[in-house]
Structure formats: structure tokens, C-alpha cells
Amino acid sequence: MAEDLVLDTAIRDWVLIPLSVVMVLIGVLRYFVSKLMRSSQVPDSKIVREGQVIVRARNLRAAANYIPAKSFRARKVYFNNEENGLLHVPKGQAQNAQAQMFSDPNMAMDMMKKNLSMIIPQTLTFAWVNFFFSGFVAAKIPFPLTQRFRSMLQNGIDLSTVDVSYVSSRSWYFLNLFGLRGLFSLILGEENATDDTQRMMQMSGFGVDPTKSLGAEKDSLDIVQHEWALPKFEQRAEAVLRKLVS
């Protein structure tokens, strides 16, 4: 495109600004709704304990060389023995855990609340944007960009001849969706910002079997070779003192 497209100022007044304002308002509204629906959840004792066991086993693995061999062996047996070791998961239980999680009505309820506060407004706004503003070129960024940005900035316009620095309205919606976090943390306070990207990560993390990480930790603890680091320290201490004395 040799000459510039001239954008109507009405587009700015009726598309660009309203879209941003609506996104902000929806973010704020969603924050209050989710605050209303939030239930203080009592953590499950088993999950808390498992997390702590894993942290402790990891510490043991990382710093094994700093304790005497006898102590290390005692701990290894404590964690790994086949009867009642902390990391040992009985075979039958491994499958149950997940089923249990789904059958727990509280969990399902919580999931639904999360979904309600996240997915529904998102779909609605997306549908709204799509319905009213599809195919708009809503803004122009003041610097040129390479072709790779086309899919990011011109979502919804299938014209390969439009310069990439023009932003379509649907892309503007996406930019707002992911870019307003800073603004929310200003309005709602530091920790209260509704962070979509983080929440999506959490969602995808759901369903991971906690017993699996126990098993993995057990295996890696099994193969740790214990080599006591302390005898080396005597020489090192000697060197340190020699330097100090001289």
C-alpha cells in the first residue's frame, strides 16, 4: 500500500475508546463478582501434607551431602520404604485420587465458579465485539512492523495488502484482554488484579495427579548417591585459617 488509509475519527470515538472502556469495566465487575462468590476453602489435609513431604524430600536430595551417611540412610528409609514410607504410594490408591477429586462436589463447585467468572464474560465480550465490530480497522500504530505481526494485529481481516501497522478491532480486543493487567493492579490494588493468563495456567494444571509427583520424587531419591561433603571442609577450613593467621 503506497498511500495511507485514513481512519474516520468516528471509529476512534465509537470503536476504539468504547472497546477499551468496556474491557476495563468488565474486568472490574468480574473482580467484584468473583469476590462475592469466593468461598474460603479449607485445604485438604492430604494435599497439604503431600506438598510438604515433597518439599522436604527435595531438600534431602539437594543437601544430602551435608549430613552424615548414617543420618542420610535413616531418612531415605523413612521416605522410601515399601511399607509406610512417606513417599510410597500404595498401588490401589494411585488411581483413586483423581476420581476422588472429581467426585468431590466442593471441588466441582469451585471449578464452576471459576469458570463462571472467567469464561462467560469472555465469551460474551468476544461475541459482542465480533458482532458489532468485525472487520474494522480500528487503529494504527505509529511504527512499521513485519509481516509476522499480521496474525496478532489484524485478526479478522483477511487482506494481505493492508499495512501491518493497522490494528483490527478484534485484535484490539485481544490486546486489551491481555494487556490491561497493569491497569487493573492500579485500580484494584496489587494482588487483586484478575490475571487471565495466570488463571489459564492454573486451569490447565488441574487434574495433575499429586501421587505421581510423589512417585517421581521417590525414584529420584532412590538414585541419590550419598557422598559426605564434610571431610573436604576440614581442608578448606584449614586453608581459611591459614589465610586468617598469616
Binding site: V42, R56, A63, F233, E234, A237, L241
Partner: protein, 300 residues
């Protein structure tokens, strides 16, 4: 842990606030962040903010945090009336809050009405059995009543679930040491070394426990941990230097007459002794003869 820069910052602010230079709120925030215990100062400066309606309303929602902080500090200073007032305000604002419930329990505790406090805590635990603060308060309560075995019991119960909490391990280790249960204390210190292997204090404490336990093997291990303490502190820890000397002399006594094949570091103790002499010469020259006679008494 409070680092050196944070501490100097804190002290600077404290002096500034004490001399009326302002910055009280920043000071209180820093105290809260670093979790240091300067209750008298917190009580004084916190109250001066709370008693000034203009300053107080400037804080916005942080006002309630300040009330909590001042309440805890007041209990620590035994100003129970102040604490009571603060808690009353908080309760008015947040009825049903567990966090305020905790404060009420603590108030009962500081009055010394243990049974009532216990009742308050157990009702809090009924709602949330994994409230770490309440569980820890229980331990503190047992300890305050001088019921050490009770404290150990509660702590063990706590650690069964929260076994990665190294502060609790440390508390347990100290209780065991105070009861002269050194084997158990050694286990706790091992756990602490595992969680923070580069902290020399734990190495030192572990070495001391091992030395106290005695026996050739323990003494040799203790010596190694004293050595690691020296390495980690750059030879500045006199306690570890003394420990090396003591360990060497004790080992020498035990292996006297026996054919000794160990002798891994024959020089370490003489080096430690010279280092001690040097440090004493620099810092406390008057005590030098004392040190010399003590070291002579240990001569191997």
C-alpha cells in the same frame, strides 16, 4: 532472615522516627515485613498514628493492619488495655473474622487464662484445622506454661503435617536441647542443615550437640561440622574455633594409647588456636592470658 542492609535501614529509620523525623509508617511497614520484634517501638509509634485521626485515615485500608500490629505489640509489652481497645475496634469492623479471633485468643493468653485461650483456639481449629498460626500459638502456650513435654507433643503433631517448616524444626531443636535430649536435637539440626545447608549457625549448633553427646565417632563428626562452620564464616566465629580445640583435645584423650591412624588434619587445631589468639589480641587484649591458660589446659 534479616540481611545486613535491611538491618541498617531499619536502624536508620528507627533513629529517625525516635527523633521525631517522621517516617513512622514506613518504619512499621519494615518491621512487619522483616518480622522483627521491636514491640516497644511499634507500640509507641503505632499508637501515635492511631491516635491521630488524620494520619489514621490517610492509611486507608492499611489502618486495620496497623491495628493488628499494634495489638500484638501491646500484648508483647503487657499493655493489655491498649491491646483490648485495638481488638475491639477490629472486631467491630470484622465480626466473625478468624484473624480477629486469633487475636482474641492471644489476648486471653497474655492475661494468663490458659484454659479460655485453649478453648478459643480449638474452636478456631474446628473451622480450619490447618491454621498454622493457631497451631503454633498452641505450642507457644504450652511453652509459656512451662509444659515442655506438651510443647514437644504439639510441635511434633504440627510437624507431621507441615514438615517443611524449618522454623518449627528449629524451635523443636531448641526445646530438645533445653531438656538435654541431644539425640532428638541432633535429628532436628540435621533437618535444618538439609533445608538451609549454607547457614553456618545450624552447622555450629549441630556440632555442639554432637560434642555434648560425646563418643569418638560423634566427636569426630562434631569436629568436621566445626570446620565447616569456620569455612562458612571465614574463620570469624570464635565459638567454632574453640570447638575445634575442644574436640581435638577430647579425641586425643579418647584415643590415647591407642594406635592412631586417623590424623586427617593435624594442623587444624593449632591453626584454630593461633587464630583465636590473634582475634583476642585484636579485640580483647586483657583477656589474652585467660585464653592462653585455657588453651594450655587443653594441650594435647
Amino acid at each position: 532472615m534479616v540481611t545486613k542492609t535491611e538491618e541498617t535501614e531499619l536502624n536508620r529509620l528507627e533513629i529517625q522516627v525516635d527523633n521525631g523525623g517522621g517516617g513512622a509508617w514506613e518504619y512499621l511497614c519494615l518491621v512487619r515485613k522483616l518480622k522483627v520484634r521491636r514491640s516497644d517501638k511499634v507500640l509507641k509509634h503505632g499508637l501515635s498514628i492511631l491516635n491521630d485521626p488524620k494520619k489514621r485515615s490517610n492509611l486507608g485500608p492499611e489502618e486495620w493492619t496497623l491495628y493488628e500490629q499494634v495489638a500484638v505489640a501491646a500484648m508483647d509489652c503487657q499493655c493489655l488495655d491498649v491491646a483490648k481497645d485495638c481488638i475491639k475496634v477490629l472486631q467491630k469492623r470484622f465480626p466473625e473474622s478468624k484473624r480477629v479471633g486469633r487475636l482474641e485468643g492471644m489476648l486471653l493468653e497474655s492475661k494468663g487464662s490458659w484454659a479460655e485461650a485453649e478453648k478459643a483456639y480449638s474452636s478456631l481449629l474446628e473451622e480450619n484445622p490447618f491454621d498454622q498460626v493457631v497451631l503454633k500459638r498452641r505450642v507457644a502456650m504450652a511453652k509459656a506454661q512451662g509444659n515442655m513435654s506438651g510443647a514437644i507433643e504439639w510441635l511434633n503433631k504440627y510437624l507431621e503435617t507441615f514438615m517443611a517448616d524449618h522454623d518449627a524444626w528449629r524451635e523443636l531443636a531448641e526445646i530438645y536441647v533445653s531438656l538435654q535430649m541431644y539425640k532428638q536435637a541432633a535429628y532436628c539440626y540435621e533437618e535444618l542443615i538439609l533445608s538451609q545447608p549454607t547457614l553456618p549457625l545450624y552447622h555450629l549448633a549441630y556440632a555442639e550437640v554432637l560434642y555434648t553427646l560425646g563418643g569418638l565417632e560423634n566427636l569426630q563428626t562434631a569436629k568436621k561440622y566445626y570446620a565447616s562452620t569456620i569455612d562458612l564464616t571465614g574463620g570469624k566465629n570464635t565459638r567454632a574455633l574453640f570447638g575445634i580445640c575442644l574436640c581435638t583435645s577430647a579425641i586425643g584423650q579418647l584415643t590415647k594409647g591407642r594406635n592412631k591412624e586417623e590424623k586427617e588434619s593435624p594442623e587444624l587445631h593449632s591453626l584454630a588456636a593461633t587464630a583465636l589468639e590473634k582475634i583476642y589480641k585484636q579485640r580483647a587484649p586483657t583477656k589474652l592470658p585467660l585464653l592462653n591458660s585455657a588453651l594450655k589446659g587443653l594441650k594435647i
